[in-house]
């Protein structure tokens, strides 16, 4: 009995001894896995020649030159920026005004309405893609930029609303009341009191909306045409049919963009607290 007790004690203390180290090793493995794709595309993008090998045999800016000189890649990039900015504007206006309206009133079914307005977040993009495709083809809007902006706005608006709620929660309502007693109208109160106080959430929401639209692929794949194709759609077909090395350059540029977004977000959130 005594010997067995001693052995289990020893084994458990051995496990105790190794547990922190094993945990750290597993975590490091996790971190490496997380950043591996981003780390791989950057050296690849400086490779020369037409084959994708890692590490590249020689280095050059050839793939970047290909990307910037190819008019079709430039066209789809321009289209993505255009759709992203329009989506950002539409979802900011619609999302912030709705969030303001909801947070400053009480009515029956308020909770239900909020759930409804956030529900596109939970919906598989493939279902929205099919819905938009069936709907826009009846309206004759398949392949148009309007259709893309409408669909992307539906995707981004819930995220804008969530961000707006978070920002509006910290606006002291007594300030609004004070402005109202001094005779300011509703729009003037919003413009002079509320908006200046929620600038950080507006910036976060704009970034969110733009990036979500800029990266959206499934819905755009269904409802865009050759003329209105966005960057992710062209990347999708390019990976699907033939993996072109120029994708390495594009992926690196997008990784830098994502990194910028990360840094901006964490700085803004720190300022928010």
């Amino acid at each position: 009995m005594a010997a067995m007790g001693k052995r289990t004690l020893k084994r458990s203390s051995l496990a105790e001894h190794w547990f922190p180290a094993l945990g750290t090793v597993a975590a490091i493995f996790g971190y490496i896995f997380l950043v591996l794709p981003s780390l791989i595309v950057i050296p690849m993008s400086f490779g020369a020649g037409s084959e994708l090998v890692f590490p590249p045999r020689s280095y050059s800016l050839e793939l970047y030159r290909q990307y910037f000189q190819e008019s079709t890649w430039m066209a789809v990039t321009g289209q993505s920026v255009k759709v992203g900015l329009a989506t950002m504007a539409a979802s900011l206006v619609l999302g912030f005004s709705a969030a303001y309206g909801i947070s400053r009133t009480d009515f029956r079914g308020k909770g239900l309405l909020t759930v409804f307005l956030l529900s596109p977040m939970f919906m598989p993009h493939i279902a929205m893609a099919l819905a938009m495709y069936l709907y826009l083809s009846r309206l004759g809007l398949v392949g148009t930029t309007y259709g893309l902006v409408a669909a992307h706005t539906l995707v981004t608006v819930p995220f804008v609303i969530v961000t707006a709620f978070a920002g509006l929660r910290y606006v002291d309502r007594n300030l609004e009341l004070a402005a109202a007693t001094m005779g300011a109208g509703r729009l003037r109160i919003i413009w002079k009191v509320v908006l200046p106080l929620i600038v950080p959430s507006i910036v976060v929401a704009s970034l969110f909306a733009f990036l979500l639209s800029f990266d959206e692929v499934v819905i755009s794949y269904f409802i865009s045409s050759v003329q209105s194709e966005t960057l992710p759609v062209k990347m999708y077909s390019s990976i699907h049919w033939e993996i072109s090395p120029v994708l390495a350059a594009i992926s690196s540029l997008l990784t830098v963009l994502s990194f910028g977004a990360c840094v901006a977000m964490s700085l803004l959130q720190r300022n928010d607290q």
Binding site: A26, A27, P37, F54, L130
Partner: protein, 269 residues
């Protein structure tokens, strides 16, 4: 005040409710008024096989994600706030990275001449060829990578919400770190694990890009079948029935999630 909500409500009526109504109508009436689309979905061997692989891939990638995510979340939880913020960048970067960049990177990493295979050849001889792409392992790796940040956020939130006095009490009474982990930290983080797994299931059930780019013909998921019907066989009624099925599945899971914790989630796959 209601006037502020009206524009978005009108937008939702026009671009959310009506389109979804069209899908439901198409699933029931296209080509004729019958339940034949649904009947076919639940009886045809192809659909049942795709439904099964959808559930298998979603379940397996959620488990793999959990196994990789937990040590990372636990490590982040142990760090002082400054280091945690820095290390969080490693989680946030993939979160903000386009799924196409990731898919491209994985085709390069996992391919026949990819980095993994080159390392394997260096270690085990030149005849080694691991088949990691256009099959189940490829899809699972790609999906797990997409899901990881969501799982890590969910678990980290529940770890950080724990009362630290419990740990300190256990320490004072002489419990080692493993003992504390097993009897305090892990059980108390179960809500985070459950929420994280449910979120990952919702996100993976509707996955389209990863199975299309990293999987083979046997790894087709419901979303890929919807696309096939819309763009190749032009059978909108069946595509609609599949989409309705998918929305019901993810909707039910989402309802459980918001019941478990009142948080939101994002999806852009």
């Amino acid at each position: 005040m209601i006037a502020f909500i009206v524009p978005l409500a009108v937008f939702f009526a026009a671009f959310f409710v009506l389109p979804l109504a069209l899908v439901v109508l198409a699933s029931l009436f296209d080509p004729v008024l019958t339940g034949s689309n649904y009947q076919e979905v639940f009886t045809s061997a192809l659909y049942l096989r795709v439904l099964r692989s959808t559930l298998e891939i979603s379940g397996l990638s959620t488990i793999v994600t959990l196994l990789i995510a937990y040590p990372v979340a636990y490590h982040l939880y142990k760090q002082p706030p400054r280091q945690r913020t820095l290390l969080m960048t490693l989680v946030l970067l993939p979160f903000w990275t386009s799924i196409l960049v990731k898919s491209f990177a994985f085709t390069v990493l996992l391919g026949q001449d990819g980095i993994i295979n080159n390392i394997a050849r260096a270690l085990f001889g030149p005849d080694t060829a691991l088949k990691l792409l256009f099959n189940r392992p490829g899809v699972i790796v790609g999906m797990a990578h997409y899901l990881l940040p969501f799982m890590i956020f969910a678990i980290l939130t529940s770890l950080l919400a724990q009362n630290r006095d419990l740990r300190r009490a256990a320490e004072v009474m002489g419990a080692g770190r493993l003992k504390i982990f097993r009897s305090i930290t892990l059980p108390l983080s179960m809500p985070g694990i459950i929420a994280g797994c449910l979120i990952c299931l919702v996100l993976s059930l509707g996955m389209f890009v990863t199975p299309a780019l990293l999987g083979g013909p046997k790894d087709m998921m419901l979303a890929n079948l919807v696309e096939m019907h819309v763009r190749q066989t032009l059978d909108w009624g069946l595509a609609a029935a599949l989409a309705v099925l998918l929305v019901i599945m993810t909707g039910a899971l989402s309802a459980i999630i918001s019941h478990v914790r009142g948080g939101g989630l994002g999806s852009h796959g």
